[in-house]
Every structure is written in C-alpha cells, then in structure tokens.
C-alpha cells in the first residue's frame, strides 16, 4: 500500500498543477459576444429536414427568430425605400419555391418620431413556403434577405443561408 501511495500522490499533484495551468489560460467565449449581436440579427431555427411527396406542392413552415432589441422590415414595409424581408431558393437545387407567404408585420414607430410608422417582424416569425421537390434527397441552401434596426440605428442589409434537407419521396 505504501508503495502505491507515492505514484498516487504524484498523479494527483500533476492533475492539480495541470488544472491550475489550464485555468490560467483564461479561454473565454465572451470574445464572440459583440460580433454576435451585430452579425446575427436573424437566425434560422427549423426545420432542418423535411420529407415531401415528389413533384407535388407541399407547404413547409420556416421558423426564424429576430434578436432581442432588434426589428426587421416585414415583407411589405411602409415605405418604398425600406428593404423588405424576402425568402428565396436558388434555381437548379431540385426544389422550386412556388410561393412564400409572409406573416403580417407589427406596426411600430420609433420613439423619437411617433408619426413615422414601420411594419416589422420581431421575436419569432414563420414564413410558409410552398415548394415542389423532385425525387431524391436535396440539400437546399435557401436565403433570407433582410435589414435590421433597433430604435436608434440600423445595420446593413444582410442575407443569411437557410439550409434545409428536402427529401422528395
């Protein structure tokens, strides 16, 4: 037993030193926070995969979330100069977007100018996409184009990928 004690103590000592050393590295996930707020105004939530009858129109509900404190213009903004939210699927992907039905926007105005009305999405919203898929497995990279603001400032227009695995059976 006494012969076992020395290597056991040595192992514990090394593990303790290693733990202190590793902690001192101070690896942090906080460095991404500012970038996250600025670049991830909208996130695609689900579905990641859908099975639909091949060559027949099928409805798919696409769920998105707008970051807290931000809003994006709805598909039908109140002014021509505002950039609408728009979903698209590229041609040649094996899946065709027949129609996309967007939710109605919430009407809001900026505190500093209550007379100017905006039609926006906040929080979670759903786009109903009517798609037609050919037979087979299609990894579709759709796109959501939007432009986000908070109450005082705006971020540039952005397009995010909407990746869905569409199986046409």
């Amino acid at each position: 037993m006494r012969a076992l004690k020395a290597p056991f103590v040595a192992t514990i000592t090394v593990l303790a030193v290693g733990a202190v050393t590793a902690h001192a590295q101070g690896v942090s996930s906080n460095s991404q926070k500012r970038a996250l707020v600025k670049t991830d105004a909208v996130t695609y939530l689900f579905p990641e995969q859908v099975s639909v009858p091949m060559d027949k129109p099928s409805q798919v509900a696409l769920h998105f979330r707008v970051a807290q404190g931000l809003h994006i213009n709805s598909h039908t903004p109140t002014d021509d100069f505002l950039i609408p939210t728009n979903f698209s699927i590229p041609e040649g992907s094996g899946v065709r977007l027949q129609t996309a039905t967007y939710p109605a926007g919430t009407v809001m105005s900026l505190p500093i100018d209550p007379t100017a009305k905006l039609s926006v999405y906040t929080g979670e919203f759903v786009i109903q996409a009517r798609i037609v898929a050919s037979a087979g497995n299609h990894l579709v990279e759709g796109a959501l184009h939007y432009q986000a603001c908070d109450q005082n400032q705006c971020l540039p227009p952005k397009t995010i990928p909407v990746a869905i695995d569409v199986i046409g059976k």
Partner: protein, 215 residues
Amino acid sequence: MKSFPLRRNTLVLGATLCILAIFAWAGWANWEYRRQESERLLANAAQGELVPATGGMPEFVSPLNGKPAPAFTLNDLNGNKVTLASYRGKAVLINFWATWCAPCKIETPWIVELRDKYAGQGFEVLGVDTEGDDLKKNDKAGWAKAAAAAGKFVAEEKIPYPVLLDGDSINRQYGGLDDLPTSFFVDRKGVVVTVQVGLTSEQDIESKIQKALSQ
C-alpha cells in the same frame, strides 16, 4: 504478489497518459486564447464604446476622436470628385447614411436646418451614402441605380449640401460603419472632435456642431 508490479505499471501508465492529455489540452487552450485575443484586438481596433456623458446623452467614444479625419475623395451625384481636404478651414459634419435607414431619414431635416443656421459661421455638411451593397467598380448599372436612389432621397429631403456616393469604400478608415446613421464632427483644422452613432436629438447634434466650430 505477482499482480503487484502489473498494478503499479498500470498506475504509472495511467498517470503518464493523464499528464500528456493535460499538456495537450493546455497547448490547445493557449492557442485558442491567443486566437480569441487576436480577434478581440482586431475587432476593437477601430470600434468605439458608448460611455455615459455628463449631459445625460450617451456619447460614442471613437478611436478617431482627437485625430485627423481620414482623407477621402468621393464622387457626388453629378460625378464630380469631392475631397475632404478642400473643406479645411471649415467645421464639417461628415454624415454617413443610407436610403434604407429610417433613423437617417428622421435626422436629415434637422441636419439640413442646422446646416443652414451655421453655414455663415463656416460650417458645412457632407452626406455620404453608404448602402452596404458592395457594388463593384465596373458595375455601371448598379452605380446608376444607387445614384438614382440617393438622388431621389436628396430631392425628397431637399438636401442642399454635397451628397457623396460609395461610402462603403471608406468604411474601414472610419472605423467600420456597422451602424447608421454615424456622424463625425470635424473642426476647422480637420480633427475629429466627436462622433455620434445612431439617432440622437436635434439639440444634441447642434451642441456637437457648436463644439466643432469652437475648436
């Protein structure tokens, strides 16, 4: 008794593997820390911070505060080249905006009014259209469309000061214009006096103009 050396060897082997695993993890952790630190420094290099101001309105502390405003030459809506240097001797408000920016549209009439009020004291505004669409230099159709959209905005808002296109090309020098509107208040010697990011108030803009004129 014969099993004893085997047990000891197992313990030694186990301890050795643990030590090696810890070193490997520490090496990865060190590399990850350096990578994140590098990213943080890069991100902070040109970005400012909002700090509480004594007047109640948070001020944006930009790395350009107290430094010469970065030089630029951009085209106006008629294709004429306009350089910042040609405004030396005047206090200048360099106002970055975009046609799709609702807060920009709200503050524009205030800026027009203040420009008219202080023009006689040697104050000018340069509106810089920053659409964030990364148009290529040879995209004539794209640039024509951008100029038309900006021209429409200028006509609707009755903007009397120069409006310049392609603000995206000087984005980096001015700290990465992620948020619009962003305004740089420059004194007569070409030094950035203060920076405002986002919509504020007409009174606040006026106080910043007065500060730029008084330097």
